[in-house]
């Protein structure tokens, strides 16, 4: 208990004094996960819209598959991307393994299903009534899709924030693709995992507090959105 209290105090000290290593890791973490979320949103929102608005064979199965992938184990994505990016992999020549870019690719793949699936759900809840209303008032197909997207914007934003939450808190991809290299690919979760096993509790606790803080901010943002 004493050890924990001691670690806690030192952690707070690290945060308050803006410890350079702490700041560096936090900044890198935010950069990687925000980039992954941004790229995933760019892909998922139009793709989700396409799946929702188009009628095609196997649509139901595809949506089922996407929903199954919500709980995709992070280490599986890690393994998959590792195989792609490793020297023997298809994209081995790009030398992306153990780089932040590689981690961004991994996290993007990890949260894509959630973003696509929740976008579809968000658009679906807008309902046929509003689609009909928009068409009936004279909207073209494009104008109708735009209207429905706009109606669903808060639900879609919530999906994006949820995706960011999953990206920033995962370990599997970060450690397998990033390799936890000090000063290069070390992020909050991988640092906590390593430093704890080394007995270096104060840095772990400090990073834990920051991660919790981010979770809190995410939660507040979600609440704000849901109120709209």
């Amino acid at each position: 208990m004493n050890e924990f209290l001691n670690g806690m105090l030192q952690a707070i000290n690290l945060i308050l004094t803006l410890n350079p290593e702490l700041v560096e890791i936090t900044t890198r973490t935010l950069f990687i996960s925000l980039s992954a979320t941004f790229i995933a949103a760019l892909i998922a929102i139009p793709l989700g819209g396409l799946i929702n608005f188009k009628k095609f064979k196997g649509k139901r199965s595809l949506i089922n598959l996407i929903q199954t992938l919500y709980s995709l184990p992070t280490v599986l994505v890690g393994l998959f991307v590792f195989l792609l990016l490793s020297q023997q992999g298809v994209f081995g020549d790009l030398n992306l393994l153990f780089t932040p870019t590689g981690m961004i690719i991994g996290q993007t793949l990890l949260i894509l299903p959630i973003l696509i699936g929740f976008t579809i759900t968000a658009l679906k809840t807008v309902g046929k009534d509003l689609t009909d209303l928009s068409i009936s008032l004279g909207a073209s197909e494009f104008q109708t899709i735009y209207t429905i997207m706009r109606e669903a914007k808060y639900a879609i934003m919530a999906a994006v924030i949820l995706g960011f939450g999953r990206a920033i808190s995962e370990v599997g991809v970060a450690i397998m693709i990033g390799g936890n290299i000090r000063g290069a690919t070390r992020v909050i979760t991988t640092t906590i995992s390593l430093e704890t096993s080394k007995g270096n509790l104060e840095l772990s606790i400090a990073l834990g507090i920051i991660l919790l803080g981010i979770a809190l901010i995410i939660n507040l943002m979600l609440n704000q959105i849901q109120e709209n």
Partner: protein
């Protein structure tokens, strides 16, 4: 000139036939009421007219354009001339102003120019000062009126209303109805679905009785007093319907033979028919009277029910039941009770004959 013509419109959902060979011709400026029971296909027909649904077969002509064979672009142009208000109006996220401006917006009209016009429209619908309110906070009646404003701002040539006053309180209903009557002055063509016969009569120049197909179309007076068939007669609440076989009788009359009576009618339909006599066209007396009425029968009172100032008396004549209305005073004067014998009389011209 006909603004809209429907020829042989049919529509099935799964295996269920919703519309069967519907034909309609609507003149510009007419107010047509589409009346029928719940589930009769009213909404489907309106959605077909608004081009939200495609019929399985048939032809739609709007302003001389064959709608179903036109391109996507042309269809949008046609749809922009038709405005529809749904039974359960939905709102877009945003203010009343944003909702009403949606139509003009997608037509690429200038927003600033529109603001005054929208405010005017809202004012005329009793929503003055509502511009900046959250559209989702409006009451049912207000939402319905906003939905009407959202459509009317586009100045549609054809306005399609699906049960515009269903689920509304009497005051909101009255407001909506006066707006619909107001539209008549602007020569806007209106097609409205309703299950309320009285409303149809009040607001429409023409009514069509629909139950998967159109059973009768005509002026409200015609449809209500001269139903063409049993379905319409039952639906519009025609009383005293009697089944029989009509044959030619002397002097251009027809004689309708029921199993127990012969009733004379001045109408000429022959064969197996229904006949109806409006209760107010039947007179009663305690004794046989000398009268010009060709139909006079002896019967007895079988049922008495009081309704306000009137008393409904059912009279059994050899097994056929006739309903008549009496004032309370004459009912008391005649001292009628169940089983009282009496005579009823009605003219041949009061007997309406239909299939």
């Amino acid at each position: 000139m006909n603004i809209l013509e429907l020829n042989g419109i049919s529509k099935k959902y799964d295996q269920e036939e919703i519309l069967r060979n519907v034909n309609l011709k609507i003149k510009k400026g007419t107010n047509l009421g589409l009346i029928g029971p719940t589930g009769c296909g009213k909404t489907t027909l309106l959605r077909i007219i608004d081009l939200l649904e495609t019929p399985d077969s048939g032809k739609i002509v709007f302003n001389d354009i064959d709608v179903l064979n036109s391109s996507k672009k042309e269809k949008i142009q046609i749809r922009r001339k038709i405005g529809m208000v749904f039974q359960k109006p939905v709102v877009f996220r945003g203010t009343v102003m944003e909702n009403v401006a949606y139509g003009p917006d997608i037509r690429g009209r200038d927003k600033n120019e529109l603001k005054g016009k929208i405010s005017e429209k809202l004012e005329s619908l009793g929503l003055g000062g509502y511009e900046d309110r959250d559209a989702s906070s409006l009451s049912g009646g207000e939402t319905q009126r906003m939905a009407l404003a959202r459509v009317l701002i586009n100045e549609p040539e054809l306005l399609v209303l699906d049960e515009p006053t269903a689920n509304l309180d009497p005051l909101s209903t009255e407001k909506i109805e006066s707006i619909i009557l107001e539209l008549k002055k602007n020569e806007t063509t209106v097609i409205m679905a309703t299950h309320d016969l009285i409303q149809g009569q009040r607001l429409c120049d023409e009514i069509a009785i629909l139950n998967h197909k159109i059973f009768q179309i005509g002026s409200p007076e015609d449809v209500f007093s001269k139903p063409k068939n049993r379905f319409v007669a039952d639906f519009v609440g025609v009383k005293n319907i009697i089944q029989g076989h009509a044959e030619a009788a002397s002097e251009g009359l027809s004689a309708i033979n029921t199993s127990s009576l012969i009733i004379y009618s001045s109408e000429s339909l022959k064969g197996p028919v229904h006949a109806s006599i409006r209760p107010e066209d039947i007179t009663i007396s305690l004794n046989k009277v000398e009268t010009s009425a060709l139909n006079e029968f002896k019967g007895e009172v079988s049922e008495i029910s009081k309704q306000g100032a009137l008393v409904n008396v059912k009279i059994n004549v050899s097994g056929e039941i006739f309903m008549v209305y009496m004032t309370r005073k004459s009912f008391l004067d005649m001292e009628l009770t169940i089983g009282s014998p009496l005579w009823i009389q009605f003219k041949a011209s009061a007997v309406h004959v239909f299939k």
